[in-house]
């Protein structure tokens, strides 16, 4: 299995408060053709971890540690070198497709920007490639002339996906890509991402807070709590045999579709005591 991304001892702190650990000592490995889900509550540091890979952290924050992508140390690269990697070798999809798209440009133009910038495509070849990409994500190619507001939420997210895979990246980072979508649309988008991952043999880093989505898409799972990784394992291990008390508690909060489960909120005080004892 080819190792695509290797993060070791990543720590993220605010510049003006270096003792406040937003992400603390996070290490993870991603391999080609595998989907790794990071799950956690808001504030667990899952999005910060993803953003730091692309060098997209706010200027108020600083990251320490090593992020190796295909053997290249990303933390040492300047902005220009990073720009050659972003969108080309690492694709990214965000939660809300409407805010990620420019409302005054056609979606075809916006997909084309990526292709021109990284592959230098122009004219008819560019047009053909845009049409091919849209077809690949299940949108009729003539919609290239549409503006974002003329598309539904699911279609916009498909456009974002077509952009992120335009240059056939080795790694796709998806930050809660289906949270803003209806369940039926969510199911379609998850299926699409899964197909693309397999076909292009990408490594996928998928951020979510929904264990249902994890069950549908993940190979491996990383559970984060207050900036730290508390447990990692395969999907089967985490979902059916969780070891860490936090993972167990988080799973106990998720309602099931059969209504058999008794919901149990997390007792943070107890968690803390348990951690101290361990």
């Amino acid at each position: 299995m080819t190792n695509i991304l290797n993060i070791s001892n990543l720590t993220i702190t605010p510049k003006n408060a270096p003792n406040r650990l937003l992400v603390s000592n996070v290490s993870l490995k991603l391999s080609a053709g595998k989907t790794t889900c990071i799950v956690g509550e808001s504030g667990s540091g899952k999005s910060l971890t993803a953003l730091s890979i692309m060098g997209l952290l706010s200027s108020q924050l600083q990251a320490q540690g090593s992020i190796q992508f295909q053997g290249q140390e990303l933390t040492k690269l300047d902005n220009k070198a990073l720009q050659g990697i972003r969108g080309a070798k690492i694709g990214m999809i965000f939660q809300e497709p409407m805010t990620s798209l420019n409302p005054v440009l056609t979606v075809g133009y916006q997909i084309g920007e990526t292709l021109t910038a990284h592959l230098g495509l122009k004219g008819l070849t560019l047009k053909d490639k845009i049409a091919a990409l849209l077809t690949q994500v299940g949108i009729p190619p003539e919609r290239a002339n549409s503006y974002p507001d003329e598309l539904s939420g699911g279609q916009r997210q498909r456009v974002m996906i077509s952009m992120s895979i335009a240059c056939e990246p080795a790694l796709l980072i998806a930050d809660e890509p289906t949270t803003a979508l209806d369940v039926t649309v969510q199911a379609q988008i998850l299926q699409l991402l899964n197909e693309l991952k397999t076909r292009m043999n990408m490594a996928m880093l998928f951020i979510t807070h929904d264990f249902g989505v994890v069950a549908d898409i993940a190979d491996d799972v990383i559970v984060m709590f207050r900036g730290e990784i508390v447990e990692t394992g395969t999907k089967q291990q985490i979902l059916s045999k969780p070891k860490h008390p936090y993972t167990k508690a988080l799973l106990a909060c998720v309602p099931d579709a059969e209504g058999k489960k008794e919901l149990k909120p997390i007792d943070y005080a107890w968690l803390k005591a348990d951690k101290a004892a361990a």
């Binding site: 939420g153 199911a187 979902l239 059969e258 209504g259």
Partner: protein, 265 residues
Amino acid sequence: MSEIILQANNLVKTYTQRSGRFGFGSTQIKALDDVSIALKAGTTLAVVGESGSGKSTLARCLLQLHPFDSGEVLFQGQDLAKLDATSLREMRKHLQMVFQDPFASLNPRMKIGEIVGEGLLIHGLGSKAERQDKAHRMLERVGLEVADTQKYPHQFSGGQRQRIGIARALVLEPKVVVCDEPVSALDVSVQAQILLLLKALQQEMNLSYVFISHDLRVVRHIADEIVVMNKGKIVEQGAVVDVYNAPQQAYTQQLLNAIPGRKAA
């Protein structure tokens, strides 16, 4: 068989949307197309559907926050649309709402004590001391502290704000509470807390809920009966257990199949 506390008969609501070049044309969109529901006292009726299905419009029409084209809403047998402004305001203390976004639904310039006590003030219930006492007790019941009454909304987390929203709705001791996606903006851990709180309060105060949601896992846990809506129409309705175990309509089946994690489980 418990009595029906809130009933909607044949509700129709049409929106006119501008369309065509420069918006000179117009299209009629039926947000509610002959919708009838009945809420039994002390139970929870869930309304589910995708965005654009008309579920939030239904919530607003039930509370007379939106005018509708035709149909009627009966609260304890009384037609709300036929009431004059004064009697309707009087009636509103029995009909409260909990909103989706705990960030947008609390006035940032008001202290929590004022937010929770405002309903009592408007309805002229009790003396100042009594109102304050009532607001304090309600806040404590939803898991906040009396000291919190002096704080502003921004000092609270999303889950705490939702608790404040619930306290504001329940301080008037309403009979019916319409909850419009009350847990969709929250983390699963907080979601579980709020769902359990809503259930406990329902028992204690004998509340009836209309629970609007798009999350079928949440609905399975909180609701007794369910109404499935699609494009302004009711597709299917019945007891939650029956609809989940044996959906009669293809659309309901489709929604249930789309619940994430169902195939893998």
